[in-house]
Structures are given as structure tokens and as C-alpha cells.
Symmetry: C2
Subunit: 462 residues, 2 copies
Amino acid sequence: MTTPLTDLARRLPGLRLLTDAGDLEHYGRDWTRRWTPAPLAIALPATIEEVQDIMRWANERHVAIVPSGGRTGLSGGAVAANGELVLSLARMNRVLGFDAVDRTLTVQPGIALEAVHTAAREHGLIYPVDFASRGSCSIGGNIATNAGGIRVIRYGNTREWIAGLKVVAGNGELLELNRGLVKNSSGYDFRHLLIGSEGTLGIVVEATLKLTNPPPSSQVMLLALPDLDALTQVFAAFRAKLSLQAFEFFTDVALKHVLANGAQRAIDGEHPYYVVTEFDAVDEASQERALEVFGHCVEKGWVSDGVVAQSEAQAAALWRLREGITESLVPYKPYKNDVSLRIGEVPAFLRVMPARLAQEYPQLEVVWYGHIGDGNLHINVLKPADMADADFIAQCERATKLLAATLKEHGGSISAEHGIGLVKRPYLESTRSVAEIALMRGVRKVFDPNGILNPGKVFVDA
Amino acid sequence: MTTPLTDLARRLPGLRLLTDAGDLEHYGRDWTRRWTPAPLAIALPATIEEVQDIMRWANERHVAIVPSGGRTGLSGGAVAANGELVLSLARMNRVLGFDAVDRTLTVQPGIALEAVHTAAREHGLIYPVDFASRGSCSIGGNIATNAGGIRVIRYGNTREWIAGLKVVAGNGELLELNRGLVKNSSGYDFRHLLIGSEGTLGIVVEATLKLTNPPPSSQVMLLALPDLDALTQVFAAFRAKLSLQAFEFFTDVALKHVLANGAQRAIDGEHPYYVVTEFDAVDEASQERALEVFGHCVEKGWVSDGVVAQSEAQAAALWRLREGITESLVPYKPYKNDVSLRIGEVPAFLRVMPARLAQEYPQLEVVWYGHIGDGNLHINVLKPADMADADFIAQCERATKLLAATLKEHGGSISAEHGIGLVKRPYLESTRSVAEIALMRGVRKVFDPNGILNPGKVFVDA
């Protein structure tokens, strides 16, 4: 009797298969680094047909498949720790076509986000979804988690930019979902069901992305805020009068770290909260309007101090105060959480959550920042130098339980943009009801009757 | 043994139930007027609990339910012709709340679209989805069909404006989908699955709608085009330079009807195609840019003539040439089709389809117009005065087969924004594959195991 892997190699003699220990480790994990990689092998198909053939083999031989992109995920969605076959889309990474009238770019799933940006710019357009891992993450992975990032307030999540998807479902069928149409009211929109399903329903093998005109010239402002209520007041005032491209928040604790890491202080004095905002500034009128809104917020006592960037260099320096936070925390091996709330609910949540954490886990320093204009908070818990890794993870997981319970009280979500994967799976019920999770299991069973695709991610099959 | 209806009345003594012949006829049909209404009764619940109780009763007694909004649909999605209980949301029509920070309006499903517009304006904001049936259609029905309309090119379909949905699923469970969050990557996004599912998965009992700032001031232009290729050339040129609010198309045949119905001619001479476009014109610079694009198109030979509205009255007069078409065709009892293609594919499709129809059905006059910026064409077939109704419908249905086959060749959709309902059901396979339809049946079975909700709409249960 042949092993499943020998069988696969025999059926698909042209398929690139890797089984070296180094490859198994490399392709078996993502950025979470919490699970020990243990895949059966790595398959690197070059065509849609090969992906389908692998899925047919997997269904016949009951081998689990982990679809794999850039593996920059932070939720363990692409981890293969249980003898799964990793199906890496890394070789399917080309631009397939550009349509000037429809303004769409058709790509293979393994292409890096940055290469999509480059291809769009070559046609004088932009693909507006963007975040720090752009050089390594793949568009297929972006689609699998409905990735967000820093411009969501203006452009929405990945979901908004998908005109069509080719997907190999768990049952091996190739689905051509929506085929680039703007309007299509012909039955259930499975494109949207697939987006954000973290590889548990199907494998994206081709995507048609919408592009758009580049944004107009913009202005960057840094604001210091005296208290939490000011956060939503300032946001509402700015959004009412300006066309926002970003509205980001961080605390004095986050500022401390980023300054220690070499960023330049831009506002003097002690302030508990900061906002970096960027907005359209096409002419003097819009610049004046921005100063008016700023003046109004100062007058109301919502803003204690502020700086408007006067040059591109200064704009970059202000942005560094926000964008440099992640890097400044790396030495502390942070445990990351990524949660969301309705925007208006953020102050109420921030009034209770940090205090609860401080009380229960006084040893842990917690750094808060995020995309406040989307109600999205990133929470980084720093490992004390004298605490063992396992001890730290255990404390953080207990802290996440507290976080999940508090989020539930405030109607929030345990995952804003990182996905559920393995990391958040124990907390899914804080965000989705038992009835919804039962429906998820049922829907998965329809697309993937044998439970082949990414089993154990998001939820455990019944 | 009690009848199911007696049983319902006994279980829910407070439920408003209508059984008069006039009510059965009124609530049993939509704007299609093709099926003879024959519902069991009409239930008008006032609360979510009553909707859930009705669904539990329906599951126990195996009574089919037709969810019912404003019944302005054009695809028979709200028709009750087989002894179903019509569950009308007409009494659940209130605004429940407004959130100034999140800029959301929470409403009951039976509220008319126009009332949503009014409520948004009271807060200085807009709900940007709009179409002619605004006074009668309900937001629940808009969600069920992912309704589009005239501003999709700027604002997208209904889907883009739904921050949260409360839904009673076919199995009776109350689902709270997404709860107003901007970012929420925590498992399958059933909100998007429900949108456009035409009442076959669940009943929307509450919706949280996103609002936005009103658009800037705009300019309206009418263009005459010499040929089909010009259509996409002009569109691409305008979209590259201007921020479009609308880009609508109609033919000389459509113009003939609307002029005969009292509209004023705005461009002299004979031209085969016309475009009405509206775009942001905030200042002189953007007005100049518009004239430059216009000049460029004339120079290229893509535009034969054009008019820029110089006043609001003239803008309205130009718009009437497009918006007055539907009304001008009413006397001809038109058979309506509503299809879509990728925008760039529209000219190729229009080169073959009208000719095919003219060849096969020389007696039928066909009027073409639509939202060309969305690849959406409305097709109105006019009934010859001397043709019997049944004969006309039969010819039109055969013509729709030809239409569906041609759409399939061009990668189009048999329903752009009206939905599938009963009218388009025979043609669903021209747009969706057999594998996709099988998945739809499976997903419906998960949400509605007994097949209670709107059976026979979109597809027939297995």
C-alpha cells in the first residue's frame, strides 16, 4: 500500500513537493511562532488544475490541507502542526491582466501586496489596501483574513476591493465567483462568504482586484488629547468637515517606547493620548477648514496641543510616532491582540479595560494604539525581562479571557483584522453566538464535506 | 385537529392577521403582476419576538413563509401564489436610533427608503442608496436584493451601507450579524451572505445603516456619442479625471419615447447613443477639468455633441431624458430585463444582442438604457398593441433565453439589481454554475432546514 504522499507524487509527477526538515519548518508556521511546525510535506502547485488535483487527492486520502500565502499572519491561520500538507501558493504569483475600462487587475494569489501596488501604479492607479507586511504578505492571505490596515477609514477592508474570485472549494470544485461584475444580484454572493473565511471553505486561486484613482494631496496633523471622551469628539468633528485618509491613536506609553527607539518628539509636555490624522488638502480652502476644525477642538478643550506637518519630511516624522510603535516593541516579545468596537464605544471600553488588566496582571505592561477611526485597537502586552516565556504566554492567555469577556460586554470583536486562526479560537464565542458558530460549521460542511481545508482553524468541526 | 392558521392565532393572540380577499390579493403580489396571489393569510408582526414565534410555528406546521416589504420588486421575489403565509414587515417601520460618532442609523426593516433619507438628512448626513421606488420600497427589501440604483458608481450597492443586521434565520434563531463594527474578522461574515439572498435564508428584522457626508456640489452633462466603442472610451476618460456621481446611458430609441412623453430635446441632430453624467464640481478648477475631458473626447471623435447644465433647472431637464424613460414606456406594458456585464464588455455585447433580438423577434421593439458606469443595462421589450398579453409574455420569455445565452458568452449576469425571484429562476444557470447552485441549496439547508422561507424563489430546493 502506498503512502498518501507517494500516491500524490505519482499522480502529479510535475508537482513541486518539499520534504526537507528546513522547508517543513519554514512553511509550517506563520508569524505567531507558538506552534511547532509539523507538516507532512509542502506542495507548490503552479496551476489551478494542480490545486484541484491536490484537493481531489486530499479528499480521497483524507489528508488535511493548510493553504499558505506569505505566512505573515498573527493568528496561526497558516500553521501546519499536525501532519497537514501545506499547499503554498508561492509559485502562483503573477499579474494575469489589467483592464483599463473596468480598472481591475487580475492576479494569482501568491503575489505580494507590494507587487500589486507596483502593478497598479504602472497604470496610474492605486490598490488602496495597505499595511506594514506589504512586502511579504500575499493577496490570497489578505483575502482569507479580509485584511484591513491603515487606510480603512477611507477605503474599507480588502473585501471592498475584490471584483471576482476563482476559488477551489473544499470539495474540489472550481468556483468563479462574481467574475468582475459591479452589479450581480443572482443568488448568494459566495465571494463575500469566502473573503475572511481563513482557508476553511476554499482556496483562492485567482483574484480580480478593483483599482482606483490616487488620492489627492493630503495633510498630516498630530494632536494631543487630554482624556478619552475627547477621542470620539475630535474624531466626529474631523470627519464631519474633512475627508479623512487616516485617524490613528496611541497612548503616552506607546509614545515612550517609540521615542526611546529614536523617533523625534513633536509635542512637548505630558499628554495621555495622541492622534495622527491625515486628510485631503487639495487647496487652501481645505487647509483652512482643517485649521478651523482644529481651533474648534482646542476651544472645546478636546485638544491640548497640535502640530501640522509643513513638509513631507515632517509628515513622515509625525507618522513615525504611530507607525514606529510595532518595531519599538519587538525587544519585549509582545503578545499581540487586535480587537474592535463600535467607534463610539471605544472610550467606555478604554475606561475599564486597562484598569482591569492592571489590577489582575500588575507585572504586565500593556501598550495601546490603533485605528481609532475604525474602532480598531491593537493591544501589545510586553514580556517582563525576568518572566519565562511559557509563564508569560499563560498569563497573556488568561488576560485575553478577561479581554474577551469585557469586549462581549461592550459588543466588540475579539478579532478586528488578524482573523481567528488558532490563537483566537478559544474566544470566538465572545464575539459570535453559539447559533452563528453552529451555522459556520454547517456551511463549512457544505463547501468541504470531508473537513479537509485548514481543520481546527477558526472553530473545531463537530 | 386545528388548522395551522387557527393554531397560529391561538398561539399569538396579539398578532395582526389578515384574511380578507382584498388583503390576500394586495399582499400576495409584487410589481411583476404575473402570478395570481393566493396566500394563506397575511401576518403583520410588531416585534422581533413575534417574527421568531411565527417562524417556530411555520417550522412545526410546515407552512411556507413569504417575507414581504414594499413589494416593489420586479422579479417576483415577494409573490405568494401557493398558500404561503405572507410575513409583512410593514408595521415594523420605525427609526430605532442614530449614533453620531459611528454615523449609523438603526431602523426596522419595514421603513421606506425615503424615510431613511429623511432621517439621515435630519442629522446633516445622507444614506446614499437611491432609486425611483424610494417612497414605496422598504429597507428590508433593499437588503434582500442588494438593491443598487443610480449612484452605485459613486457609493456602491446596498451591501456597502450595512453595518449590522438582526436576522431571524429559517431555523428560528435570532442572529445579530456584525453589530455595527467597521472591522470584524471573526469567522464567516453571514451579514454579506444574507444581503441579496431574497428572503431564502432569513428575515431581516433590524438593520444598522452607515451614513455619510452629503456629496459636494456637482455638474450635469449630456453627451451624444457616434458609436458603441465611444461609450467605454468616454467613460474611461471621464472616470480618470473626474469624481463621477453618475454615468448613465440610453439609445436614440429611448430618447424618442421620452421626448414623445413631453421631455425637452437638449441636443439637435440624430445620434445613436447618449450619456448623462454627473460629477463633483467643487470649484472652477474642477469645472475646467471637466471641459478639458469633454474637449479631449470631442477631438478623439468619441463625442459628437454635448451640453453642460448651466442651472439646476437645466440639470433636472437633462436628467429627465434618462429618468423619464421608465415612465414613458408604461403604456407599452414593457417586459423588463435587468442585466450586467463587466463595463469593458458592454460594447461587444451591444454589438450582437440587439441584432439577435431584432432578427428573432422582429415584431418586438426593444428599448435599451442603463447604468453604464456599473455595466448595468435595462432592457424593456414593448408590447405591440395588437399582440395578446399571453402571446407577448411567451415571446419575451423565449427572447430572455436568447438573452441569457448571449450573456453567458460575454460573462454577464442575468440579474444586475432586481434579483432572481421567480422571474429569472429559469435562467440562473446562465450566470451561476451547477456547482455554485448546488452549494446554494446546501447553504439554504443549513439556515432553513425545513425549507420554510420563500421556497421556489431563486432556485428550487432539492
